[in-house]
């Protein structure tokens, strides 16, 4: 009898322990994935470094990709592009030429979207378009709409941010070229917290694979994704806890210009989209993270915006104390710009292959979770 009793106790103890552990595991999964507690997870090596390449100037920005080729635009030499073959590491300077003479410009941004490249100036405003390889830019749009940033979506669609004349606040919109130009602004997308210009500032991103547009606020823990018609809006929270932009603005000067009084608190610094992932550079520390790490690397958080969940984080290492300025993912490569260098990484499966959202179970998971999720996700249609 007593021996039997011991067996019951032994198996009872073991059963209880296993049960407790499984419950801990399941609820921890829940916490990390859905609850947006500010805790990061670092799987081993989602990216591995291939090489660093010195491109001499620190004024480069990522203009776009074409297969293995990376194109860098240059802020201080607006008609210049640098072509970098990511496989062979060959670089080739390219000179762009406008088709007409006497083009006036103030601030030019170049963007590559095969088979075209775009030269854009939202202050004039104009957008030129040319074919890759020919490098001659022809007028595509002139005077239809002012904008302060534009992202080409395809050869006749442009994702823009501008100041709405109606509300005098920053607004997202699209320029569509059919026979003429259609400019559609949606003033409800960007939600003002302070002045509606500085506080809603952020980065505009595009995922060609899933046909989604994204906007990531700089100063608060939110981003949004929508389809190419700016419909089907989803608002997401990041794992950070700062909900309200922490910036302070000075009184307008005599010319009426407003500037920031103190350095703002950046929550989401640089971003890019890759398939179902939205990647955000953040230098904010979560729980269980050591501060020393920030002296040598930058943290990148990966979110699956189709599932509406935080997935994992990884590091991009600094080069001689210089941090990542911007980065992008393209066909198995992750490219980061740091000072005068570019760091080229290889992205590893299954972290970047989009398998997470093509999996049926996960989609079901998402549908279940999106109805009762705490993170604020809203759909407008």
């Amino acid at each position: 009898m007593i021996a039997n009793n011991s067996y019951i106790k032994i198996f009872g103890t073991m059963g209880l322990s296993i049960g407790l552990m499984v419950i801990l595991f399941l609820s921890s999964e829940q916490e990390v994935h859905r609850n947006n507690a500010f805790i990061r997870r670092y799987p081993p090596h989602p990216i591995t470094k291939l090489y660093d390449l010195d491109v001499i100037h620190n004024s480069y920005y990522i203009a776009g990709f074409d297969r293995d080729l990376l194109y860098l635009g240059n802020r201080s030499a607006p008609w210049h592009l640098l072509q970098v073959n990511m496989r062979t590491r060959d670089t080739l300077p390219i000179r762009l030429t406008p088709s007409g003479n006497g083009l006036r410009y103030r601030s030019i941004h170049t963007s590559v979207l095969p088979p075209y490249f775009f030269v854009m100036d939202g202050t004039m405003p104009f957008i030129l378009r040319g074919r890759l390889g020919e490098w001659k830019a022809h007028a595509w749009m002139e005077g239809a709409a002012f904008f302060d940033r534009a992202v080409p979506v395809d050869s006749h669609l442009m994702f823009i941010r501008t100041i709405s004349s109606k509300t005098q606040k920053s607004t997202l919109g699209i320029i569509k070229k059919t026979t003429g130009f259609q400019v559609a602004l949606d003033t409800t997308l960007l939600e003002a917290q302070i002045d509606g210009i500085f506080d809603v500032d952020g980065t505009m991103v595009l995922s060609k694979e899933t046909s989604k547009l994204g906007y990531v606020y700089y100063y608060r823990n939110q981003f949004m994704t929508m389809n190419l018609e700016m419909k089907g809006l989803h608002r997401h929270r990041t794992i950070d806890t700062v909900e309200t932009a922490q910036i302070s603005l000075a009184e307008p000067n005599l010319k009426g210009d407003v500037s920031m009084k103190s350095p703002p608190l950046f929550i989401n610094k640089a971003t890019c989209m890759s398939r179902n992932l939205l990647l955000i550079v953040s230098d904010r520390l979560g729980k269980n993270e050591s501060e020393e790490m920030l002296d040598e690397a930058t943290i990148v958080d990966a979110y699956d915006y189709l599932k509406g969940s935080y997935e994992y984080s990884f590091y991009i290492y600094d080069i001689k104390k210089h941090k990542v300025r911007e980065f992008a993912v393209h066909e198995g490569y992750l490219v980061a710009l740091l000072d005068t260098q570019i760091s080229v990484y290889e992205t590893r499966e299954p972290y970047f292959d989009g398998s997470i959202s093509t999996n049926n179970q996960n989609i079901k998971d998402y549908l279940l979770a999106s109805s009762g999720r705490r993170s604020k996700t809203r759909t407008t249609e």
Binding site: M1, I10, S28, E31, V32, Y42, P43, N288
Partner: protein, 148 residues
């Protein structure tokens, strides 16, 4: 028969000492490099959300068990406790290996040099020992209950 009787007294005692040494060593090595332990546990895929208090709970439990198991009065309870803790550790490893999104680089804490499979075997060995000790040290077994 006499040797067997001897063994019955000896095994629980030996197992207790062994467990005590293991726990004291494990808990001390965790506290020794506490920051490291905390970081590793925080980044482990299972306990991420509870790392804050688990980092304290685990070494504390290990110390308490290590001392209780040496006292005759509490040995049986402590043995059950050890069995529970060991089962939890093993379950943790099995969950990490099979159901988690990724397998962490280091396991940290107890005997870092061991691989995951060795760890499971090591733990299973201890679970068997402890079970044996519990069965043998259950007080006043009626003679007929031991078939020899």
């Amino acid at each position: 028969m006499k040797g067997l009787k001897h063994l019955q007294v000896w095994i629980p005692y030996a197992v207790s000492i062994l467990c005590s040494i293991l726990f004291i060593y494990a808990a001390t090595s965790k506290l020794w490099d506490f920051q490291n332990f905390k970081t590793q546990l925080g980044q482990s895929p299972i306990l991420t959300a509870y790392a804050e208090w688990v980092v304290w709970l685990v070494p504390l439990t290990e110390y308490i068990l290590a001392f209780l198991i040496l006292a005759d009065r509490f040995r049986l309870i402590a043995l059950y406790g050890t069995l529970g803790l060991m089962t939890m550790f093993t379950t943790y490893i099995v969950l990490v290996l099979n159901f988690s999104d990724y397998i962490p680089c280091t396991c940290g804490g107890v005997l870092e040099a061991m691989g995951w499979t060795e760890h499971i075997i090591f733990n299973a060995f201890f679970i068997v020992l402890v079970t044996l000790a519990i069965l043998l040290s259950t007080p006043k077994l009626p003679p007929k209950a031991i078939p020899t």
